[in-house]
Each structure stands twice: as C-alpha cells, then as structure tokens.
C-alpha cells in the first residue's frame, strides 16, 4: 500500500464542502473534507444548523411543560428522551413510580429501540447504495410500531406520553393483543432480513474492515451505545447500572470484536432481537394498578441537582437538572449522545475514500436534533 507521497505525479490536496443538505438522510450536517484524490486526509465538522435553544427553553417551561420539548431532541426515538427526563426529575424529587407504569415504560422503551434501529440500519444501507430496498423493508416494521404508539397516545412521532411519576394514560385493551401479533411477525421479518443481507458480498466488501474504531479510542472519546459495543466494549447501562426494572429481565448484550461498519450493523440487528425478548418477558408480567403516581401538574422539586442516564437506542442519554424549588428547572443540560459519538468521526475516517466516508457517517447513526439541541 503506497502512501500518496510516493507517486510521481504532483498532486495537492483540495477542500471539499459536503454541504448542509445531504443526499443521505441524516439531517443538516456540514463537513469540510480535505481530499487528496479520493482519499480523505482531514475532516472539519460544522454543525449548529438545527440549534433551537432547547436547554434555555427549559428554564421557561414548567417541569411537565418541558416534556413535549424533549420529544424534539432525538426525534427518531422520542419515548427514550421522555423517559430520561422523567427519571431525572423523579430522582430529584424522590418520587416512586408504580409497578404497572414501570412495566409499561420498559415495553415502550424497547419498542422504541426496535423502531430506531430500523431506521439506523436502513439509512446506513441507503448510503451504501442499496436503492431504498432494505430501508423500506424495515420501515414497514417501524410503521407498525407507529400504529401501536398512536393507539397509546395519539401521535406518531412526538409522543409526550411519559409523565413525571409514570405514564400519562393507561393502555387501551387492544394494545397487548396487537403487540403479540407484532412480535410474531417481527421474528419472521428479522430472519428474512438476515437472509437478505447478512452474507451479501457487496455489503461485505463495502462495510467489512471499513472505518475501524479501536477500543482505546472509543473509551477515550466517551463513545457509548451500539458504536462502542461494536468495538468490543461490553458496556450497557441496562446491565451495568440498571435503572427502572431492567434487572428483572433476562437478555444478552451483543458485542463484536473489530468495530467496523459491518459490526455496527450486526450489533443493531442483534439488539433488535434482544429487545423483542425483553418485550415478550415484560408482557407476561404486567401487573394491575395505577399508571401514574399522585404528582401535581406544577411540581416543585426540592432544591438540588440530579443526573439520570438511560440506555437510549443511540447510546447513553443523560439529563442533568438543577432545581431551585420553583416551577421551572434552573438549568437542564442534556448529554447529547449523537454529538459525543460524532467526535470519533475524524479518527474513523482518515485514510478512507469518499464513498467510505458516507457509509461510516451513516453507521454511527446520529440525529441532528440531538447534536444541535
């Protein structure tokens, strides 16, 4: 493998601007890439095109009124954002959540994980060039999950379903039978998808060995989520620091060795199967009871601060809330998973070609709503 300096032709690197509008589906992200021919030498990210000042707006909304705004952070997996925020406030105010609400939260969070991975895998393959076919196959499943969520709370993307102290309303009676049917079909769909793509030579040629993130770099950059697990770090908040009632369920954490794009794809597909397992266990054990603790709408937590983190589909999503005993938080900071995962992009991309840059960027799975907040 010759370095580019040994060629006899005089070349010089040039800067290419991969602008905020993308042909791929990842939102408004701008990169200035220094290229030498086709090889990427350096990359400078420029983001902030979707900044809406959500953390500042938190100081002007009440605690309950902020929940709809957390939906808009990582809009691909809105229920997880709601859950993280509610956990932070409950930790701060010392509220205990009833059992039925805990089980419902787990079922919904795992459904949301499946939905998010559907888009993540589909978008990565779309960037690789498979002309929307795998994307649409998985998007069908995400539509089914949308239907289930619409049955619960009335909306398909910005749910506003979790409340401080539980969930907002009880599930209708057709939810659990529909969820059963969905589970059975999802098994078949995942198997067919594996059959379709697991050994596809073109995908292996494009994604195997490409964009390797070594384990030490991942730990140093603070990467979490499927990206870290693909690099060999066996860390999942549901097992290492259990929140809610995750310690009652039995599931595995898929990890891979190398940390290339193909491993990240495999980790996500396996996580979908494991989430299905959790849902099946939880569905059998849902007790009766209230779905929300007796908490007023305008809640005034005692002064202090709290940090709560959850295993969102993209990684570790954390909320740090400082309160001064008024109806609005004094400060609310969101640990943006996608932004911290994005800081490793430069390490992963150096030395690869432009086409690989696009597929590596797709495999990290970021949502600009979370990066820019």
């Amino acid at each position: 493998m010759t370095t580019t300096g040994e060629l006899t032709l005089k070349t010089e690197p040039f800067v290419l601007n991969i602008g905020p509008m993308h042909p791929s589906t990842h939102g408004v992200y701008r990169m200035r890439v220094t290229l030498d021919g086709e090889v990427v030498i350096d990359i400078e990210p420029i983001f902030g095109y979707l900044h809406r000042g959500i953390e500042k707006l938190a100081e002007e909304r009440t605690y309950t009124g902020f929940i709809p705004l957390t939906d808009r952070l990582d809009y691909m997996s809105a229920m997880s954002n709601n859950l993280g925020y509610c956990l932070a406030v409950e930790k701060l105010a010392g509220i205990k959540v009833p059992e039925r609400a805990e089980y419902l939260r787990v079922i919904i969070a795992e459904l949301q994980r499946i939905a998010n991975h559907c888009i993540a895998v589909g978008a990565m393959l779309n960037d690789a060039g498979a002309y929307f076919t795998p994307f649409l196959y998985l998007f069908r499943e995400r539509e089914k999950i949308y239907d289930l969520f619409e049955m619960l709370c009335g909306q398909r993307l910005t749910y506003n379903y979790m409340r401080i102290g539980g969930v907002s309303q009880d599930i209708p009676e057709e939810f659990l039978p529909a969820l059963e049917k969905f589970n059975k079909k999802l098994h078949n769909v995942i198997n067919e998808y594996e059959f379709f793509l697991k050994q596809n030579e073109v995908l292996l040629a494009r994604a195997k060995g490409v964009g390797i993130l070594p384990k030490e770099t991942a730990i140093n950059c603070g990467i979490s989520g499927p990206v870290a697990r693909a690099s060999g770090i066996k860390w999942d908040l549901r097992k290492n620091d259990p929140y809610s009632i995750y310690d009652r369920f039995e599931f595995d954490i898929p990890t891979c060795e190398t940390g290339d794009c193909y491993d990240r794809y495999r980790v996500r597909i396996e996580e979908m199967s494991q989430s299905l397992r959790i849902i099946e266990q939880a569905m059998k054990q849902v007790p009766d009871g209230p779905v929300k603790a007796d908490v007023p709408h305008l809640i005034r937590p005692p002064a202090g601060d709290a940090y709560a983190h959850i295993e969102a589909p993209k990684g570790e999503l954390g909320y740090y809330i400082v309160s001064d005993n008024s109806i609005a938080p004094y400060r609310c900071h969101v640990r943006p998973t996608s932004l911290i995962n994005l800081t490793a992009l430069r390490e992963m991309v150096k030395g690869w070609k432009v086409a690989d840059l696009i597929i590596i960027f797709g495999s990290i799975d970021i949502t600009m709503g979370e990066v820019d907040r």
Binding site: K144, M151, F196, N200
Partner: protein, 166 residues
C-alpha cells in the same frame, strides 16, 4: 475483503426481492381509501365546550407554548366567570395535549381530524364559536374515555395488510 461464500449471498438477496414481488404491497391509496386513525388521536384542532368551561384558565397556564388566550369578566351568574374571549392560535400549538389533560371540568377536547390545512395564516387563529364541537369538527377521545368508546376502531398495519394477495 474477499468474496465470502462465493456469491451465495447475492443469490439469497435476489431470492428475497423476487419473493416480495409476489406479495401484496403495503400501500394504501390515500384519497380513495382512508385508514381509521387512533381513537386517542391529538388532531389539528382544539374543541371547546362553552357550557362546561368556567374560565379558570388552567389550560392557558399549562400550555407550554402559551397558545391559549382567555379573557373573562366577573359577571358571576351561578358561580362561573363569564368567558368573553377564548382564543387559540392553532398555528402555535404543538398538539401536546397538556391542556386537555389539565382541564378540571372536561371542557376541552382534541380534534379527531387531520386534514385541516388552511389557505391563510390568519385562519389558524380560532376564537369562541369556531371552537365548538360540530359534525365537521368531531372530538377525539384523548383523555376522554367515554368519547373514545364511540369512535371507530383504529386500523392496524399488523392486522390489515396480509402477506397474501387478495
């Protein structure tokens, strides 16, 4: 980066695609066939009940956007405020439903419809009598289980589109 499996993966992929060709597509022809939306949908408009409203303005305080404006007068006949003006800016509303949840007198409902585009921005601000319930503006069952029971059942994708050709 070698060819693993000697081309079998590609053939498997092509088999899956060809099988999909023979299945029923997961498609709904929109203006002719409409699916039933959820009974608890948070549709695009807000429905207000003049009889039950007492002008307490809990909804206006709860709204994160401040889209509800209430003006009351103290013409206290049978212990209620007289509500002079109840104005909602549906363009500013994010359909979160916190107002419906907060109303202590069950006087607010979310709308059941979604085809409510207007031609002018000024038409999005609705006041008083435009907000009442009517057959053109049905109410949805969000936080109102009695209304939810009467609405038609939601069509679910897991049930509707079968994998066989009809």
């Amino acid at each position: 980066m070698k060819f693993e499996r000697y081309g079998i993966g590609i053939i498997k992929g092509m088999a899956v695609t060809i099988r999909h060709l023979l299945r029923h597509p997961t498609v709904n022809q929109y203006p002719e066939q409409r699916l039933n939306i959820s009974r608890r949908t948070r549709g695009n408009e807000l429905i207000w009940s003049r009889e039950k409203c007492t002008g307490c303005a809990t909804c206006a305080k709860t709204c994160p956007q401040g889209a509800i404006e209430i003006v009351t007068a103290t013409n206290a006949a049978d212990n209620k405020y007289e509500v002079e003006k109840y104005r909602v800016d549906t363009g500013y509303c994010i359909q979160c439903g916190l107002c419906v949840e907060a109303c202590p007198y069950d006087a607010l409902f979310m709308g059941y419809s979604y085809e409510r585009a207007k031609y002018r921005r000024g038409d999005l601000v609705q006041a008083d009598d435009e907000l009442l319930e009517s057959p053109q503006r049905p109410a949805s069952g969000y936080f109102h289980p009695d209304i939810a029971e009467k609405l038609p059942r939601q069509t679910l994708l897991v049930e509707k589109i079968t994998e066989k050709r009809k």
